[in-house]
């Protein structure tokens, strides 16, 4: 266990250092005057931006040498202080609580839905590979996967919000608002995870231990429960971990379509407005989150298959 976690802890430390420097350097290396960008982000496109930018430059010390600014920024991060957004003025921790919180809710709901849909469909397909369920689910997966999320989202809005009137087409705050965006993401993810599960299950069914279990007289339900599920789950869990990461970083389109104040939306705005503390804070927390998710996946896989691995 310790040998499994230690590299992850070191990895986390490295993430903080690299993310802090990279975000600062990359954001500030983008073309355009940072003070102008921040002023436009703060006061909108109707304001007198040149005048506001001079105040921003003075207030934030943007005219100091870049190395001094980087030093100040890293010093703050090392004290585990994420600072304040230079656009909204709110503490980054509060911004993240709201916006990363919204994304985690969305991603979490999507993951739960996709686990309900994907592996279940995949199991049904894999148990009789080449059968009716397999072929229908293959067709469904191809269609769902080839639809870009905003098209799928719009189709779901048309069906569930406009025709049936069950869910609001957009909004944030209640679980009803989360239903359609979560379903949009979940269907796209289930398209793949159902196929991964199906292949994994089909693989197990061809394995000698499966044939042996059947030959020694175990009923099918018991074989599936004892041998198929556990063995087939390993690649599926690893793949779900990847999906969780993809979900957290890749939901920008869905957040914008459904009006959710999520982190993807916030990060795009932060980069446009050259909001370095916000970009650093987001990248840092997301980086750490990915470390946690991959560590969790490793632990679950270790539990599912405790045989020590020697590479």
């Amino acid at each position: 266990m310790g040998r499994l976690l230690l590299p992850r802890v070191l990895q986390a430390g490295l993430v903080i250092l690299v993310v802090g420097v990279l975000c600062f350097v990359l954001v500030r290396a983008l073309p355009g005057d940072a003070a102008m960008r921040i002023a436009a982000g703060r006061y909108g496109p109707d304001a007198n931006i040149t005048e506001a930018a001079e105040n921003v430059r003075r207030e934030l010390g943007l005219d100091r040498p870049l190395l001094v600014q980087l030093g100040g920024s890293l010093g703050q991060l090392l004290r585990l202080d994420l600072g304040h957004s230079v656009v909204t003025g709110l503490p980054i921790t509060k911004e993240l609580r709201i916006q990363l919180g919204a994304t985690l809710w969305l991603a979490g709901s999507a993951l739960v839905l996709t686990i309900l849909i994907g592996p279940a469909v995949g199991l049904a397909a894999g148990l009789r590979s080449g059968g009716f369920a397999d072929r229908v689910s293959l067709g469904g997966a191809v269609i769902l996967r080839s639809l870009p999320p905003f098209v799928l989202g719009l189709l779901l809005i048309l069906l569930f919000a406009m025709n049936l009137g069950w869910f609001p087409p957009a909004g944030y705050g209640t679980w009803r608002d989360l239903a359609l965006p979560a379903l949009t993401l979940a269907l796209g993810l289930a398209a793949i995870s159902s196929r991964v599960t199906r292949d994994s299950v089909a693989g197990v069914m061809r394995a000698p231990y499966f044939t042996f279990a059947r030959l020694k007289g175990l009923p099918p339900a018991v074989v599936v429960r004892r041998h198929v599920l556990r063995n087939a789950a390993i690649p599926v869990i690893a793949y779900l971990g990847l999906q969780a990461i993809y979900l957290i970083e890749g939901v920008v389109v869905v957040e914008t379509l459904f009006g959710i104040p999520g982190i993807g939306h916030a990060l795009v705005h932060a980069v446009i407005a050259r909001d370095v503390p916000m970009v650093q804070g987001t990248a840092l927390v997301m980086g750490l989150l990915f470390v946690v998710i991959t560590a969790a996946v490793d632990l679950i896989c270790h539990w599912l298959d405790p045989r020590p691995k020697r590479a």
């Binding site: 703060r42 007198n48 040149t50 909204t88 709110l90 469909v121 406009m162």
Partner: protein
């Protein structure tokens, strides 16, 4: 598959139970995000939603009316202005709105970056039941500047220890119940409000950036009141029997900001030729779905006193454009693009995507200018790139959307845009002494009748010199569900009058 449909059925059952319990707050949807709660940034949201008040307000016709101030007067020399506060005005935290709190607020705003900092204020003091603003020189438009959202008055409890705004504690009919920047805000009727009680006690504001999603929220009945509809959705929404669509022309003009100091545009004949080459009606009809929005002059008809009916309109006249360009020395080159002294008439047309219609309008202009032998290369960037190009002189031409009601008196914007040296969204490399003198004179003239000829002359100068080439005017479309009544549209976007909206019977 069985499981899949099972899940969908379960979701459906839950959804039906949820819709059965109708949520009752007034659900308002608009495109504006609450970027930061500082009044200089998002004050307009709190003013429009009637959470916070300014000293002076404005009715939908553009007439100044009382806000936190019940009346105001100026001294004979125009240097001392007295704003008497409304009796019984109370903040949402229960404390009274006192003249000294208002004076503190105005002093703070004057030191900031908003338009009020341009007013020649010498001192702001509390005096009895009034706030007294002392000016260093006469400035007749002072009350209009006090409508601007950056001057909203917040209670001292709004500020944190660092002096920054941490909560919005205003004095309007609604108070902030919860605020989740950037997209959500919930309001409830304030018990401190002494005026007419809002008919709907709770308001839920949701910012939705996508125009098409906003339209869908109106159509699905999920939202009661939706602001700023895209032109493409308006016809469809009008056909919906459950919805009411209201449209108002707003004082916002999309215009070409040209650098009159550049070798391309320093000759007024070239600027006129570009104006002649534009098919404004075509742009308005196809992109904005309303040919009446073609800007035949800088200000729209709705801006009373600033629209000059007998001014010869700016229209498309390609032969005239070509003749003017030839007169200015531009001759067709081998590739059809005009040239003069070996230089091709080719430049960058910069615009930005903060307003979704600007990039398509820019490409339409690109095609229209090409017919006159001018090559414009469209570049879509961030809104700050135009002020940056203005500042360092690299801007050739920019397509911008300019708002003339930042202060309800257009003088506020004119004074800034066409001053010597120009400004971010106004002129670049252009200045006109007669216009500057007129603007300064208007700033000290209170009598509307005396001001009218000056306003007319100012518009004439801008029309003939074209430091900014008007392209189209703008309109604001709002959609309300028929289950609400009492909706009005405010072309100046100062106050949406939510407090007078009620459930229809």
């Amino acid at each position: 598959m069985v499981l899949k449909s099972g899940v969908i059925c379960a979701l459906a059952t839950l959804a039906v139970t949820a819709t059965a319990v109708q949520a009752r707050p007034l659900k308002v949807v608009g495109p504006w995000e609450i970027a930061g709660i500082d009044p200089a940034q998002s004050g307009y949201v709190f003013s429009r939603m009637q959470v916070a008040e300014t000293l002076v307000s404005v009715d939908p016709a553009g007439k100044l009316i009382g806000g936190l101030a019940s009346s105001w007067s100026s001294s004979e020399d125009g240097l001392t202005w007295r704003f008497v506060l409304r009796k019984g005005a109370t903040f949402h935290d229960g404390n009274p709105v006192t003249p000294s709190i208002v004076a503190d607020a105005l002093r703070r705003v004057h030191e900031g970056t908003g338009v009020f900092s341009q007013v020649p204020v010498a001192a702001v003091e509390a005096d009895g039941d009034a706030v007294v603003v002392k000016l260093s020189k006469p400035f007749a438009a002072l009350p209009a500047y006090l409508v601007n959202f950056t001057t909203i008055v917040l209670a001292p409890s709004s500020f944190g220890q660092s002096g920054k705004v941490e909560h919005i504690v205003g004095s309007g009919p609604y108070r902030v119940k919860s605020l989740t920047p950037p997209l959500n805000m919930q309001l409830e009727a304030s018990s401190q409000w002494t005026g007419e009680k809002p008919a709907i006690a709770e308001v839920d504001y949701q910012a939705v950036g996508q125009g098409e999603t906003r339209a869908l929220m109106a159509e699905s009945g999920e939202a009661d009141l939706v602001f700023s509809m895209l032109p493409v959705s308006v016809d469809r929404l009008k056909r919906n029997p459950k919805l009411d669509v209201k449209i108002a022309t707003i004082p916002r003009t999309r215009l070409l900001k040209v650098n009159a100091a550049s070798p391309f545009f320093s000759d007024v004949r070239v600027r006129r030729a570009i104006s002649n080459a534009l098919d404004r009606e075509g742009i308005s009809k196809v992109i904005l779905r309303n040919p009446d929005l073609a800007a035949t002059q800088l200000f729209p008809k709705a801006l009373a006193g600033w629209y000059v009916p007998d001014l010869p309109p700016l229209t498309r006249d390609l032969p005239a454009a070509k003749a003017l360009l030839a007169e200015a020395g531009w001759t067709p080159g081998p590739d059809g693009v005009l040239q003069k002294d070996g230089q091709r008439f080719s430049f960058k047309l910069l615009t930005y995507a903060s307003w979704p219609e600007l990039p398509p309008i820019a490409t339409a202009i690109q095609a229209q200018l090409r017919e006159a032998g001018i090559e414009a290369k469209v570049s879509v960037g961030n809104s700050s790139e135009i002020p940056a190009g203005h500042k360092d002189g690299s801007l050739e031409m920019g397509l911008v959307s300019r708002l003339y009601s930042i202060v309800p008196d257009a003088i506020g914007t004119l004074r800034d845009d066409y001053k010597s040296g120009g400004s971010d969204w106004g002129a670049t490399g252009w200045s006109n002494n007669e216009l500057n003198a007129l603007v300064e004179q208007m700033a000290v003239t209170t009598d509307p009748e005396k001001r009218a000829p000056m306003q007319k002359r100012a518009v004439e100068i801008l029309q003939s010199e074209l430091p900014s080439i008007p392209v189209t005017w703008s309109e604001l479309a709002i959609v309300s569900n028929k289950r609400i009544a009492g909706v009005r549209i405010d072309p100046l976007e100062v106050n949406y009058g939510l407090a007078s909206i009620r459930w229809a019977q």
